[in-house]
């Protein structure tokens, strides 16, 4: 009798929570997958989300001895200081201009190189070229800057030496000139990363259905028309995703890339938020102020990404989300 009642009660309870229990049963059935998810979630929580809490020091007068919680709350003081900082507009202009040059010149470079490499028919040549263009990626920016100095230095630079011996003119002060620093930064970046950047586009190219090329050939399309009708549309999704990610990082140029090239003579056009953050934050100990700079960069990047994604979806139907 008791057993019957208990069974009826259990059945009644299970009927009551049937919608939830279906989800629970699904979870139990597939629990190995959820267990496998745990390390990834932990990684993102510890390495990505928890540090976000530290951005609160952008609103505090952070004192390393008092700690984050005990430091005095100052509201938007650091943001006010940033926007009224005399060099703020210069930093913003340099950051956005170098970013723009990178998007205009450095972003398409691996696409063009991948397309050229895709046309190579001798596999041995293709592999050798691939290996050679990948190599600079493994050099640190300090070494790349050293190589640039060895080429362009007015005293010991190879190119300047050749220029002087051939023309008899005085050496060109490229590294000391504010006018040429952006070009040097962007072009050395292209040299270093163009090969590595081709990997994703070469992978996208191999994903294009070969019968599309064959259909185009039968219909009389030459190489250029095949490129326009098959290759480019096939690459477009990869191009759009990478361009959107690049736009999201519009304010992040990479401290390591720029800092080795900056000197007092060219800082006027080469100093960006990343180098300024290092000088003011790490060297000057203004942690709260530089955190505010970092937060400002992130918010701008986020807004640009959201707007670019919307524009991309409206124009091409492709987007990140």
């Amino acid at each position: 009798m008791h057993a019957t009642k208990a069974a009826a009660a259990t059945a009644s309870r299970s009927r009551q929570r049937s919608p939830g229990s279906a989800g629970w049963q699904y979870f139990v059935r597939h629990h190995p997958f959820y267990v496998m998810l745990v390390p990834g979630i932990v990684y993102f929580l510890v390495m990505k989300y928890m540090p976000l809490l530290g951005t609160v020091i952008a609103f505090k007068d952070y004192n390393i001895f008092k700690g984050i919680l005990a430091s005095e709350w100052v509201g938007l003081q650091w943001f006010h200081q940033l926007f009224t900082y005399p060099k703020f507009l210069r930093l913003l202009e340099n950051t956005l201009l170098i970013s723009l040059y990178q998007i205009v010149f450095a972003f398409p470079a691996p696409i063009v190189l991948a397309l050229l490499m895709n046309e190579l028919r001798m596999m041995t040549v293709k592999r050798i070229v691939q290996t050679l263009v990948y190599l600079p990626h493994f050099l640190s920016w300090t070494i790349v800057a050293g190589l640039v100095y060895m080429l362009l230095s007015t005293q010991t630079g190879l190119l300047n030496g050749l220029y002087v011996s051939w023309t008899g003119n005085a050496p060109i002060e490229l590294l000391q000139s504010a006018d040429s620093i952006r070009t040097i930064i962007v072009s050395s970046g292209i040299w270093k990363e163009v090969g590595w950047g081709t990997i994703i586009f070469l992978a996208a190219l191999t994903g294009i259905d070969p019968s599309l090329y064959e259909a185009a050939r039968i219909d009389g399309a030459g190489r250029w028309r095949q490129f326009l009708s098959v290759t480019l549309p096939g690459l477009l999704p990869a191009i759009m995703v990478l361009l959107l990610l690049k736009l999201g990082n519009v304010m992040d140029l990479g401290f390591e890339q720029i800092y080795p090239f900056i000197n007092p003579l060219n800082a006027e056009k080469g100093d960006v938020f990343d180098t300024y953050t290092y000088v003011a934050g790490i060297k000057g100990g203004q942690y709260s102020f530089t955190t505010a700079v970092g937060l400002f960069k992130s918010v701008v990047g986020f807004l640009v990404l959201v707007l670019a994604n919307k524009a991309s979806k409206a124009a091409t139907g492709e987007g990140l989300y």
Partner: protein
């Protein structure tokens, strides 16, 4: 003169010792719809690719429209062979609308001729109402019709169809077989169809060319060629009575 003549055609894939096709010979008559059958690896699709110019034969001669398009010395490029091809997965350009897909091969024609031919093809395949759609917005059968219209648009001398029903489920297949047969007869074009399913060939074609053996077979005789010619009870009418000439075994 036969619009399509193939003589002693042989082909082997690079790096392979056994030929996938060996001394294949057959002819097709004007307006004839013939079907190639055979087991996997017997070289059915390879034969179509050789006819289309997408592969070059090891030896043998291919004549299309009375002109030699491939022999030991020359290989006319695909666009100058007067061949249209419907690929196994249709190979429609995903970013182009139906109308642009069909008109793709007409880019060298005057604008007016292009427009008229496009309208003609849309009407033939009953795709006029869907001309503005993209391939991913079409059903399998509709995609097949677009692929057919695209292949027919430049008015080729020979139409090649590579496994036209392989991407379709069995339910769709029956109706589409009838429809494709009707369209091909309506277009009055010499046509060679490849299918691993003999019932496809029997439903559409007037003649069946059976390729025997596979490249992996040890017995060389087994991978030799078209080994039989059958007269089908197809719907191509007179063409089905033209049996005998097709394949001559090289043995």
């Amino acid at each position: 003169m036969n619009p399509v003549t193939v003589q002693n055609l042989s082909y082997r894939y690079p790096g392979q010792s056994a030929p996938v096709l060996e001394k294949v010979s057959f002819t097709l008559d004007e307006g004839e719809i013939a079907g190639i059958t055979g087991p996997s690896g017997s070289g059915k699709s390879t034969l179509l690719r050789l006819l289309a110019g997408l592969e070059e034969p090891e030896c043998g001669v291919i004549r299309i429209g009375g002109q030699i398009v491939a022999d030991e010395r020359r290989s006319v490029p695909p666009e100058r062979r007067g061949v249209g091809m419907v690929f196994q997965d249709y190979a429609l350009f995903p970013h182009l609308r139906v109308a642009d897909n069909i008109a793709f091969g007409l880019h060298r024609r005057p604008r007016r001729e292009r427009r008229d031919r496009l309208a003609q093809m849309l009407e033939l395949t009953q795709m006029t109402a869907l001309a503005g759609r993209y391939p991913h917005e079409l059903s399998g059968g509709q995609q097949q019709r677009v692929a057919l219209a695209r292949a027919l648009a430049p008015a080729p001398a020979l139409l090649l169809l590579d496994e036209p029903f392989s991407s379709l489920d069995a339910e769709l297949k029956g109706g589409l077989r009838e429809e494709l047969g009707r369209l091909l007869r309506q277009a009055r074009i010499t046509c060679l169809l490849v299918s691993h399913d003999r019932s496809d060939v029997r439903a559409i074609c007037g003649r069946e060319l059976a390729l025997g053996g596979s490249a992996g077979d040890d017995d060389a005789a087994a991978r030799r060629i078209v080994d039989s010619v059958r007269v089908c009870r197809g719907k191509a009418g007179d063409a089905s009575q033209q049996a005998g000439r097709i394949a001559e075994s090289s043995q």
